[in-house]
Symmetry: C2
Subunit: 402 residues, 2 copies
């Protein structure tokens, strides 16, 4: 009996988890060995992280132990950190060892894109992991406590800057408008003392969204006290705040950076050809020139023929890719070369604005307010259903739909 081929999946984000889950259902026990490697022993909902970052949802609601969700009879889980991929030797270097593969799935996710702006890495926070959002949540609360605990009051303690008014930035600002009044109460501080500033270099907030939706969102947030600075590039982040391209300085002890992502630095380090750290893959999600290496999620670039631009790095796309990817690997394992090309089926996009407010597009229909907020929760729950069925929806879902 020949050795079972090993499918090695790097990263337990949306793409990695769903690929592992689908493969475990589609492959027989003797077809292949499936190994899933991840830095933490838990999986988390990246698209929910703006909530625990603001402190409006506990982070444990966004994460789950990987081994409690996957079929551990069919998937071997390994908690380790990926250091480098050695394609020539068909192996992966991990922090505490190395592992060979027959088929490799790279789902290592993304890192914040700093655009080379000085000070971002040193002085700004990024919404990117359970650890980082706990840090942001506590940093915000600590600034309230510091303000009141100091004999000399520093207004910059109560100035919160969100750099980037894209999807994540706006969703985070929305949660902040919910959380700040609670913190004001807890720390005996008047709401008017606190500034929430959304800074965007582009000519509009929420670029890519319908202008009517953008206006709705900005109105809602401005009514809740958010100051927008659109068309306002940031030149530098310092320990005291941000310097704008105009020369103006805004003092703040809290800058959260949400201006977009680049692919995992492991890819560049491993010698792959990348664009902003991401690999442009073939329609079958394979890395050009490598028969046995696939990429999924934020690390992969696929051009949307409809727009001639890459699909956005979203959970929706990663989850859809997992379906194509599982089929293709199954085919290879079974000796077929009849691979399927990825086809996106974008059902819509909804951005929450905190509380019962949201905006979105579903099909060709624009949604505002409560219906949009409800749809957002339905989308969040749908993924849990795909991953772990009804029990996971009950355990971790957002059940207060209305």
């Amino acid at each position: 009996m020949s050795k079972k081929p090993r499918i090695l999946i790097l990263g337990a984000g949306y793409g990695g988890m769903m690929t592992a889950s689908r493969l475990s259902k589609q492959l027989g026990y003797n077809d292949a060995e499936i190994v899933l490697v991840n830095k933490h022993d838990y999986h988390y909902q990246t698209t929910w992280l703006h909530e625990p970052a603001a402190g409006t949802l506990h982070h444990d609601r966004t994460r789950m132990r990987i081994e409690s969700v996957i079929d551990t009879n069919k998937i071997k889980f390994l908690k380790d950190v990926v250091v480098e991929i050695k394609t020539a030797e068909k192996k992966v270097i991990l922090e505490s060892g190395e592992m060979e593969y027959d088929y490799l799935v790279i789902g290592l996710g993304s890192e914040p894109e700093t655009f080379g702006i000085p000070g971002v890495e040193e002085h700004a926070f990024a919404i990117r992991s359970v650890n980082s959002v706990r840090h942001i949540r506590e940093h915000i609360e600590y600034k309230f406590a510091s303000y009141n605990g100091s004999d000399v009051k520093h207004d910059e303690d109560l100035t919160f800057i969100v750099a980037g008014a894209g999807f994540t930035g706006i969703e985070f600002v929305g949660e902040l408008t919910e959380r700040i009044p609670e913190l004001c109460k807890e720390y005996d501080i008047a709401r008017e003392k606190v500034r929430i500033i959304s800074i965007e270099a582009a000519t509009t907030a929420l670029p890519g969204f319908d202008p009517e939706l953008v206006e709705y969102a900005m109105n809602i947030l401005e009514k809740r006290g958010v100051e927008f600075k659109i068309n306002t590039p940031i030149k530098e982040v310092t320990k005291d705040g941000v310097l704008l391209a105009s020369g103006e300085e805004i003092k703040s002890k809290t800058v959260v950076w949400t201006t977009g992502i680049r692919g995992s630095s492991v890819l560049e380090k491993s010698g792959f050809e990348t664009m902003r750290g991401r690999i442009q893959v073939e329609p079958e999600l394979r890395v050009p020139g490598f028969e046995d290496v696939f990429v999924i999620g934020d690390c992969a670039i696929i051009i949307d023929e409809a727009t001639n631009r890459p699909f956005p790095p979203t959970a929706q796309i990663a989850i859809q890719q997992s379906s194509t990817l599982a089929k293709n690997i199954k085919a290879l394992v079974h000796g077929s070369n009849n691979l399927e090309a990825f086809k996106a089926d974008i059902k819509g996009t909804v951005a929450s604005l905190g509380g019962k407010e949201a905006i979105g597009v579903v099909g060709s229909k624009k949604l505002f307010g409560t219906p949009a907020a409800a749809m957002k929760k339905v989308i969040d729950n749908r993924y849990l259903f795909l991953l772990g069925g009804l029990p996971l929806v009950v355990k971790k879902g957002k059940l207060n739909i209305f």
Copy 2:
């Protein structure tokens, strides 16, 4: 009809609140005008502050709106900060004005005693107000979040130093041993990573307590992972930790200073003769040489004839003083010079060690463990009863006695 004399009470701590409360009951509406000035519009339980500082009790449980407790028909409350007392002009300078008095009660409380050790004011926290304990609570939690939110781990983030193993220091350490395991869970950190270090310059922890009680307390706390460094003077506090007299450095981002108190700096500023910022008063609680100025609580020094040492600056003493003080002011207002001398009646002392553990002396009886912890709560509730009757006990009391 001649003008009513004004009794001006500075500070709404134990002494000021209880004096105001007793006077409002003992004096008729036409006898005098009672004015109570305090920095905040709330009164808080100083002796409970080690709990919200550790995060084991919410600070709102330790405070109450002053106007919800006093008889506002008889006492005028003024939220203002005392800047200086001008005895020659019989007036008090406040941050936003000034006020004359016929009788003055100084109950301005205490400030942390640094003993001139460099860096204490700049780098150490003190358990002294609602604002300061919220700051400590959040600082501790923020260090857990920072540890896990940083790519590079800093052990000093998880090292907590309590300088002073006296009453407050030990009670705070006891609460920390309750809180730290919760924080470890919240931030995915192993308990063994966290150090709690109690440093005391004297030759024993809890100086003044019976050695058997001290040993019991230290055993309990050591079992919960506290490291004691007794007979270990601190030379300097820096932004990186503490330097011991021995030359050893202990790195820590959190130093809480509990080595004792001195009187309010307003007293020195106002030209009173002080010892560590406190005024040695006559047995009637009057300032020598001033017929109309009284001192109560931590600002007052009275020598205990039994020990030939000052009574400790405790809530118990301040509350007992309020009884003498109210009687004496009432006598003066009614034209009598027959004043009463303060007599202490120390009923006992109980130090909590966190959770269901405590030690104490009641009368001549030593108490350990659960009975001591229960007695501590009885003492805490007794004050609430004196101040606001049963309704206040029900609202703010520690009702889970066992």
